[in-house]
């Protein structure tokens, strides 16, 4: 018996030794693609025509809207993207923004921000959400198990779930017109915009363009490109004349959202060092207590 115990102990220590102990805790590294496609939305140019919503509805073959796309009454209530609309435009009036100025409306188009380091992709246990090299955060329904952890993780509260479908519900969100980008076309909303409020291009070029507009017309814009640094950067960038918090843009930290959890997981489970070390420790304790403990017959004692 004692030889087998010794062998058990030996095996346990070998397992612990073989697993690499973390010599240093590595800083978390971003996996953001370098200079991906992006869109710059200039809210001072948006006239609330909802052509972008209509184009999105058309190219994604979504069901017809309950209110027609030229019905201005939709602006009476604040809307969120949902399973039948991947993008929506909301209106915020000046009276709500600042007293004293001429009443003026700001229209805000919202959709998936296509984060550079998306929380949804880090959260998804099956990799159904992923960040593409071209910038798009895409959803692969064939991998989805329907856990909805992506909805929990998204700091912008964008993914929508088909709760009404019985057997094969899907997560729905803006695709950045991924297939159209591959064909060299613009995202449908950007192509449809009549006022060039949505400009499509490479992220670095668009950031330079945003900075140029702020520099040339400082009275027109607040000095902030939303999405440049929020949650580590997003591929949808916004310029605005009104402060962003007043337009329902969430006030977010500048660190990429998955950084904390991925650092914790990496520190604890890199090469499974901590489970292996714990296993070895417990095995050693068990070997000692079995030798010294008040023993009954081994078969009896080992069965819980």
């Amino acid at each position: 018996m004692s030889t087998s115990r010794r062998r058990f102990l030996q095996l346990a220590t070998t397992v612990a030794g073989a697993s690499t102990l973390p010599t240093s805790v590595h800083a978390w590294e971003s996996r953001a693609p370098d200079n991906p496609f992006a869109c710059l939305v200039d809210l001072t140019r948006c006239i609330g025509c909802r052509k972008c919503e209509e184009a999105c509805n058309r190219v994604n073959h979504l069901p017809g809207p309950t209110q027609s796309f030229d019905d201005l009454r939709v602006f009476e209530a604040e809307r969120r993207p949902n399973t039948t609309a991947y993008t929506v435009v909301n209106r915020y009036t000046a009276s709500a923004l600042s007293a004293g100025r001429r009443p003026q409306a700001t229209y805000v188009k919202i959709q998936c921000m296509h984060c550079q380091d998306p929380a949804c992709a880090s959260a998804c246990p099956t990799g159904a959400m992923s960040k593409q090299a071209n910038g798009a955060v895409t959803y692969d329904v064939d991998r989805c198990i329907g856990c909805r952890y992506c909805l929990i993780a998204c700091p912008f509260q964008i993914p929508a779930y088909e709760y009404e479908r019985a057997l094969a519900p899907r997560v729905r969100k803006c695709t950045f017109c991924f297939e159209r980008l591959d064909e060299g076309k613009l995202p449908a909303c950007a192509a449809a915009c009549p006022t060039d409020a949505i400009v499509f291009g490479r992220r670095r070029a668009l950031l330079a363009e945003a900075r140029r507009r702020i520099r040339e017309r400082p009275a027109r814009y607040v000095n902030h490109v939303y999405g440049e640094h929020e949650v580590g950067g997003t591929c949808w960038l916004y310029l605005s004349g009104a402060p962003f918090p007043q337009l329902a843009f969430p006030d977010l930290p500048l660190q990429a959202t998955p950084g904390t959890t991925e650092s914790i997981q990496h520190a604890l489970f890199h090469n499974l060092w901590s489970p292996a070390a714990l296993f070895a420790l417990l095995a050693a304790v068990m070997a000692v207590t079995r030798r010294t403990g008040d023993e009954r017959s081994d078969t009896e004692g080992s069965a819980p």
Partner: protein
Amino acid sequence: MTAEPRPVDRRFWTPGVWVLTALVSAAAVTLIIRFGFGLGTVTNLDNAHPWGIWIGVDVAAGVALAAGGFTTAFLGHILGRRHYQPVTRPALLTAALGYTMVAFAVFVDLGRSWAIWKFLVFQNHRSVLFEVGICVMTYLLVLWIELVPAVARRLGRRVRLLGWLDLGVRKTMGVFIILGVVLSCCHQSSLGSLMVIAPTKLHPLWYTPWLPLHFLLSAIAVGFPMVIVETGLATRSLRLDSEMPVLVPMSRLAAAALGVALAVRLGDFVARRSYLFIDGSGASISLLVELALGGVLPLILLVIPAVRRSRGGLFLAAALVVLGVLMNRVNVFAVALRPPFAEHAYVPAVGELIITAGSVAALLLLYRAAVTYLPILSARKLEEVH
């Protein structure tokens, strides 16, 4: 005291069992509606609140409250305190049934339950949920392996395969016991990491990057109290001897574990200045109930020797710890979630409540059936004591 585990051999169909059966039946009907017409028809889940009480209670609290399995296995079989072994087997049974219910709740909550196998094929190793899932799945298997000897004692001669399995399991039981403790430590802590991915959505009263540590320590702290509560309920309901000689020394360990968990939690709470967010809101009240009623009060009770030695006092203190950890998990997963664009607060639908109640009822039914027919409990019947 050192009596061998044996089937309890009491009447199975009591009025209480009929009530539990009715609850399970109601849940079964609700399940048909859920799978026939979708999550939307029986739940109040929406895009702002994608997780409700099925994740908060059935999964998160279920996993925490099944911690009696690995804590007693550690005490009785790794530290070799044979004195505690009479409660190890029932604790492992509760853990096995508890984790089976957790797996079932996940199955019901998943939008594409039939696609659950994809979890094993498309592995995202960066995902906390992947790690939790893989650990829980493996641990469930380990728990049922640990229970093979109990089942084999009864059915081993009739089912040949079970007999052989028993032989193999007995020789390697040490490995499974240790594996069970390791897997538990991994997923109990990682369950706390789950919500760390949503720092801006989690109420600052609960958000801290140390959530995994708090989850692990509170799981360890609730393990022994859960065993005390279970044993209290089972011995009373089945009219058995109280097992107090095992539970009283265990309660001192419970006090120590609770003290550590509470000290770390409050230390972090003060260091992060989370107390600044205590106001009159429902969330604050929920936190105070969790910490005061389910943490500080039972700790005070457990350090009083007279309380530890009294059957009722010990049960009350242990039940408060269980309540505290249950509330903590519900708080972290449901109450603390502050989505930026919620149209209304989340309140569980009747359908969600029915399925949760039915799951708990099913757990109790299976426990009663198991101790009635299998050698799980060691306590003597009351009529044998006198």
